[in-house]
Amino acid sequence: MNAEGDMPAVLAEGLTKRFGDFTAVDHLDLGIEKGQVVGFIGPNGAGKSTTIRMLCGLLLPTAGRALVSGFDVGREPEAVREHIGYMSQKFSLYGDLTVRENLRFFGGIYRVRREDFAERMHFAISMAGLEGREDVLVRTLAGGWKQRLALGCAILHRPPVLFLDEPTSGVEPEARRQFWDLIHDLAADRVAILVSTHYMDEAEYCNRVALIDRGKLVAIGTPGELRGHRLSGELYELHCAPLGAALKVLADVPGVIEAAIFGDKLHVVLADGERNAPDLPRLLGAHGVQADPPRRIMPSLEDVFVQLVAHGAEQRVTP
């Protein structure tokens, strides 16, 4: 057992996974303290699932190492598995078993102590909000209930570390919010949690956010830190039409660092916004684009992410 109380619950150093020529995860460093919720954000194929699978001992790292609860994921995967809860991206409970049967199965597999068993089962059922539906086949449950039950199964044995791989994908907004409440309850009990998601708004619920793109960790910090310090310029919101033509024009305007479509408007990052912003409608108008005066806004994590990923790409392209 791990006796060092001060050690981080998860510690990855230079963690790398290659599949042939393809590098899925590239020298990733990551630390998660007890009671901390770390959001793992990145586009599909960025390497989120691969990283989580390595941390669970399901994939062997090509290089680097990772300790989970003090155990090496490459050398002691079974010890790691005793100390983690894991929810895979795909729903993975047994649809042809009832709620109670699934819980009983995982309780047996995790060897939940018999005197605790009834209490843990009751806890999982009430957490999932499935009281009175214990004998319903799991495949008949709606998405939100399934996800909460899967979480319930993953924490039956009170693991100190929890890995959740896109737990809220395909779940309706109300259920997503409830799910995040549960995650915070667990963090309050000193559980270290790594949650991957592609919903940017969910990043705001995390203590720290790790941005990952093409296998590389692009940035890590609290949501506030990332929003405040990462943007190299000021962010403006611009209502204009047509959007495509506007983007083309803005690409050649000096002082425009970055422009991207956000819904039905543009987000434009400007150097020296005070001076450059008022000129934009006139410049666009000259090219037949209708535009309202730009409005300065606070950057969201998504803005930060878009810029970091775009710059990262440039750095990688330039030799």
Binding site: R53, C56, G57, L58, L59, L60, P77, E78, R81, E82, I84, Y86, M87, S88, K90, F91, S92, L93, Y94, G95, D96, L97, E101, R104, F105, F106, G107, G108, I109, Y110, R111
Partner: protein, 377 residues
Amino acid sequence: MNLRRLLAMAFKETLQVWRDPRSLAVALLMPLMQMAILGYGVSLDIKHVPLCVYDQENSQASRAIVDRFVSSGWFSVGHVISRESGIRYAMDRGECIAAIVIPVNFSRTLAASGSAPVQAIFDATDVNTTNIALGYAQGVVAQANAAVAAQWNSAHAAQPSLVGQTEIEPSVWFNETLDSRYFIVPGVVAVILALVGAQLTSLTISREWERGTMEQLISTPITALEVMLGKLIPYFVIGMADATFCLAVAIFWFSVPFRGSVGTLFVTTALFNVVVLGIGYLISVRIRSQLGASQVALLVTMLPTTLLSGYTFPIDQMPAPIRALTFFVYPRYYVTILRAIFLKGSGLADLWAPLLGLSLYAAAIIWLAARAFRKRL
């Protein structure tokens, strides 16, 4: 190895089989259907061979010969014809596969010399059937000869001792009535157990991969050995239940004589089940789709059990290379064992050779199966 995890796995697997209509059908209906189809359908005996009679003489002696054919039970007279060309016609239409022609001077020749020729014609399109029918016909004729010889001897007051006749008195052991069903039905049981067992376990690991539950399962502390045993225990129980059913049908419905002990039967059947379930499991670990796994399982159980186990085609009559190959075919040991237990009442000590073969096979399969499953993606 932890008993708690093992039992959790076994219980879960039992629930899943119980709720899977396809597995249930394989476990319960397949033995029933196959027992009926193979038990009734496969018979090497030929009874009531359709016979065409062209009796040119139509005397008391010639009718006596025809009666001998009919009363033997092997032949039944379909046609009595009056022209030689009628034989060809009846054979072409498939109305008979054997014909006898009794010449016009049959009784006169017989009375004068003590022997007279009778022509038998066979349709040899189906060589197997023809050979058997030919054998029956020779048997009938031999009996007739004996009767005629006895008559002739007494009529001519000849001394039989002077002729110095030697007779073979056949004594058939273990399957006294030479009923091929007694020989085949125990083999059918082996075929069914192999098919059903491997089919069921071939789905067990591939099902978890296909439904996406495997990733969750291997993230838990359950060991590969616990997964294997936990999954095989329920199927072992099903396999033994199926075996009991099939063997009971063989004994009580098909009336195959059972001369051995139930204990010997139980031990050997359990061993065979282990081999079969292990093979299905091994396939399931290797092939991650249920359909693919069940196809491969069908192939590797169906072909060797039906063709090379000796269940219908005698191993002794196979060419030497094929015969050598049968030593690697696990059902051959069980078919041999079952027949010996049923018909000869052999005990475990008598069966040491096939038992050793089967045990080695079981050990090898379980060793491979236990190592095959890795808790990695």
